[in-house]
Symmetry: C2
């Protein structure tokens, strides 16, 4: 056993944002210190001795971006020697999916800037953060196939096409729309209302849908098999 | 940012063993140092500055138990302050499922003893290792429902009931046997041979089965939806 271990522990977060207008985006900060000064990076930083890992990532997010996110899932720990040019840093990473409009972004002392970037238009990222982001996106895609998603992201009532758009944006591929709708209705976490969609143009307006929160959270706990 | 971070990083492994005779077991070591001296614990230890996390867990397993396991999956990082009474230690944990007969156990300097324990007859464990073990078992159960399992664990040719036994032992519940067989055959990772099972007693001997390695590894990569 080594007498002195010279390894530091950090937490970093991949916060995905979704709006039907912008699609899938990621919350990034611009670094104002070396190394990778002026590069965009995932928000994060060193864990303090007296805080849990979850407290650490929430504090870092608040400090660097101004956002309060009270639930993130642990993704993976990245620990390759050399991933930080200064010294050995192991990063315990977290990810989550939120509604970006809910936040007012505010870069603090640790960051020069903070912004949402569309997942298709990412800048060069510092360290191995692109690898972390890719792993988080893969995990999120996977999660959508065994847990219902969208309750916190869509309006209270919405046309069914909004849910399709969400799934296609996160999965980054087309889906079998008929099969998708059949499965969603069968799972029961979405309900059809009698209200009609307001249409801008011509066409027959469809009914609006809303989530059934009880069923939604039950299925989130139990898991589903959502082959789409 | 704290000037000095007083946190150490360890790796710990939950190595599950399976044989059709013994069912599911876990590899544990008996601690020969304080705290929890003489308690059983998961094998593991501090990460060295110059090794990757995967190298660290393989080295610790070799040192403490004598076993060489070249593939483990990362499970989760446990980092609650106070989980180690000495100082703050964050444990990055790994898990895997192996065939115990393949190993000759040998406790080394760091451990007083090493043994396989049946999952139903576990001793009291040191630290939060019971929590880690439970999380690993949950992950393993889950993994069995989206990836084929068993190629490295069963004999080259085996009666179908051996695969059922494996799944029931890991899932720790009965399965719908007819539905299970139908799905396995449909997935195609198992093939029926024309050889018959040697029977001790009376009854009609069934055909033996074998894995189709190509299909098995393909499905392991692609994932399956194995609702059983």
């Amino acid at each position: 056993m080594p007498a002195i271990q010279n390894i530091k522990v950090a937490v970093d977060a991949v916060v995905f944002g979704y709006t039907s207008k912008e699609g899938l985006s990621v919350l990034l900060i611009k670094r104002n210190i070396k190394p990778f000064k002026d590069s965009w990076a995932l928000p994060g930083g060193l864990v303090r001795d007296d805080e849990s890992l979850e407290e650490a990532i929430q504090r870092e997010l608040k400090e660097e971006t101004g956002v309060n996110i009270n639930y993130l899932e642990q993704l993976y720990s990245f620990g390759k020697p050399g991933r930080d040019p200064r010294n050995r840093v192991i990063s315990i990473t977290y990810y989550g999916l939120v509604k970006p409009d809910a936040f007012e972004l505010q870069a603090d002392t640790d960051a020069a800037d903070v912004a949402w970037f569309n997942i298709k238009k990412l800048p060069q990222l510092a360290f191995d953060h692109h690898e972390i982001l890719t792993a988080a996106h893969e995990r999120l895609k996977n999660k959508m196939l065994y847990q219902p998603v969208g309750f916190e992201l869509l309006e209270e009532k919405f046309p069914f096409s909004e849910l399709e758009k969400l799934y296609m944006a996160v999965l980054d591929r087309p889906i079998d729309r008929r099969n998708f709708k059949k499965k969603v209705i069968k799972f029961g976490f979405l309900e059809e209302t009698t209200e009609k969609q307001a249409l801008d143009g011509a066409g027959r307006p469809g009914n609006l849908f809303k989530f059934n929160p009880q069923k939604y959270y039950q299925l989130q706990k139990e898991g589903i098999n959502f082959e789409i």
